[in-house]
Amino acid sequence: MNSQFKKGIIEMCVLELISHRDMYGFEVIERLSEDIDVNDNTIYPILRRLTEQGYFDNYVESTSMGAPRKYFRITEKGSGKLTEYKTEWDKFLKGVSRIMEEKAK
């Protein structure tokens, strides 16, 4: 799969995951790697870029074990971006489905 295309999809997935609940870096990578091949080590750069673009903000929370964790929380701008992504994604999937069905006919 084209790496740029994959990055775009991962970006959407990251937004989706963090829209459900605040998550820390390792947790995001771990969760994504359960379902997607993320050996390309692109998750953290994406998290960071999305934060810099204002889609997430951070806060630090201490833990009972080890160093305090930095959590990512989706912003209003991030929620808007996620909606935009989902709309585009649905449109894309529908288009792909139509093409595939047409080919099958």
Binding site: I29, Y44, P45, R48, R49, E52, A67, K70
Partner: protein, 382 residues
């Protein structure tokens, strides 16, 4: 897992060393990509936490590094949203404004103080600023790139100011000397590479005091230092002894019986020693045989033409061939080579137009080649 070796994982695992090594590598890669210092610290903190989280999950060092990714690739991917260094931004502004600053200074010096010449020298600020501003971690590279300008300024200062074109041209030795000092790591290698320049400089200093003869004997410094690179001490001792004996005999024969013309035959002694050993090459770290030969050939050409045709004041340009040959010979890409070569091309164009054509007031524009080359090749480099 990239460049973090399996060996180090096995050796250092469990002691936190692998993590330190991984984070240090990541930091180095981020620095190479010119990230802002505070951003680097922030990223390293994040990876530090993620590494700890992975350890808490019971993952092994090798798996963690595979999971978090190769530092090289991470740094590359992080470039998308990185914060450019503030000083880089400021440097860009300084470079952009320098042509205007130079022009204003030029007119002030010209109209107010009638210093059109050498007031035009202020235009050298444009390429010099571009080189300094473009400098990242490679301070040696910056110094090498700046050296043609430093040498030219000193040379023209002494030349126009005191008509000391000769022996001020020796200042241009600073260009290859700087390159040698930056490139060599071993003291003896450095000394060996520098001896041709030391010998030529010593020769002309002695010559200024009327000792061209037997001052030329200082050129024996080159092979005498060169043989110190010989692996076998006994061979080096024999070589050195043959040189010392030959020089002593030459001077003794020449001064005691004024037969200098025949006395040079004693120098067959080191030649014979060399033939007996059957070795003609000594390995010198960091300096290829080709560059060494080129250096010697250029010195011979320069001195020969200087004495025969009085070409002292401009034939020094041929010494620029030494760093040029070194740049062409290294393994870097064509774009980087072009940028590295541009100061030398500009210096030659600048000097030839100025010295041979008398167009000093225009020839400085040759230095605009440097930032132009850097700009034109920037996109291709990245």
């Amino acid at each position: 897992m990239g460049q973090i070796s399996q060996r180090s994982i096995k050796n250092n695992g469990g002691e936190g060393k692998v993590k330190k090594e991984y984070l240090a590598k990541l930091k180095q890669k981020l620095e190479e990509k010119d990230f802002d210092k505070s951003e680097i610290n922030d990223i390293i903190d994040d990876y530090d936490r993620m590494y700890d989280d992975a350890l808490l999950k019971g993952m092994e060092d090798a798996d963690i590094m595979n999971f978090l990714g190769d530092p090289d690739r991470i740094a590359f991917d992080l470039c998308d949203g990185k914060i450019r260094k503030q000083n880089r931004k400021n440097n860009g502004k300084i470079v952009a404004i320098m042509p205007f600053v130079s022009l204003i200074l030029f007119f002030i010096m010209g109209y107010a103080f009638h210093l059109w010449h050498p007031g035009w020298l202020v235009f050298l600020l444009i390429p010099v600023t571009a080189i300094i501003a473009g400098a990242r971690k490679d301070k040696n590279g910056t110094l090498i790139a700046l050296m043609p300008f430093i040498a030219t300024a000193i040379y023209l200062g002494f030349g126009f100011g005191m008509n000391l074109w000769h022996p001020t041209w020796l200042i241009f030795f600073l260009i290859p000397v700087t390159a040698i000092c930056s490139g060599q790591t071993r003291l003896l290698g450095k000394l060996t590479a520098l001896t041709p320049f030391i010998a030529v400089t010593a020769f002309f200093i002695l010559g200024e005091y009327g000792y061209y003869h037997p001052g030329w004997l200082v050129f024996f410094l080159i092979p005498m230092v060169g043989v110190l690179n010989e692996k076998h001490v006994w061979k080096a001792v024999i070589y050195e002894a043959s040189f010392v004996i030959a020089i002593a005999l030459y001077l003794a024969i020449g001064y005691l019986n004024p037969i200098w013309a025949q006395a040079w035959l004693v120098f067959l002694l080191p030649v014979i020693v060399s033939l007996l050993f059957g070795e003609y090459n000594f390995q010198i770290d960091g300096m290829s045989v080709g560059i060494r030969i080129l250096t010697i050939v250029l010195i011979v050409i320069y001195v020969l033409f200087g004495f025969l045709f009085q070409t002292w004041s401009y034939l020094w340009l041929i010494f620029l061939l030494i760093p040029v040959a070194a740049i062409i010979g290294n393994g870097k890409g064509m774009q980087k080579k072009l940028v590295a070569l541009s100061p030398f091309v500009a210096t030659v164009a600048f000097f030839l137009l100025g010295y041979l054509g008398g167009y000093w007031q225009y020839s400085w524009m040759a230095f605009l080649l440097i930032p132009m080359t850097a700009i034109l090749t920037k996109g291709k480099e990245e």
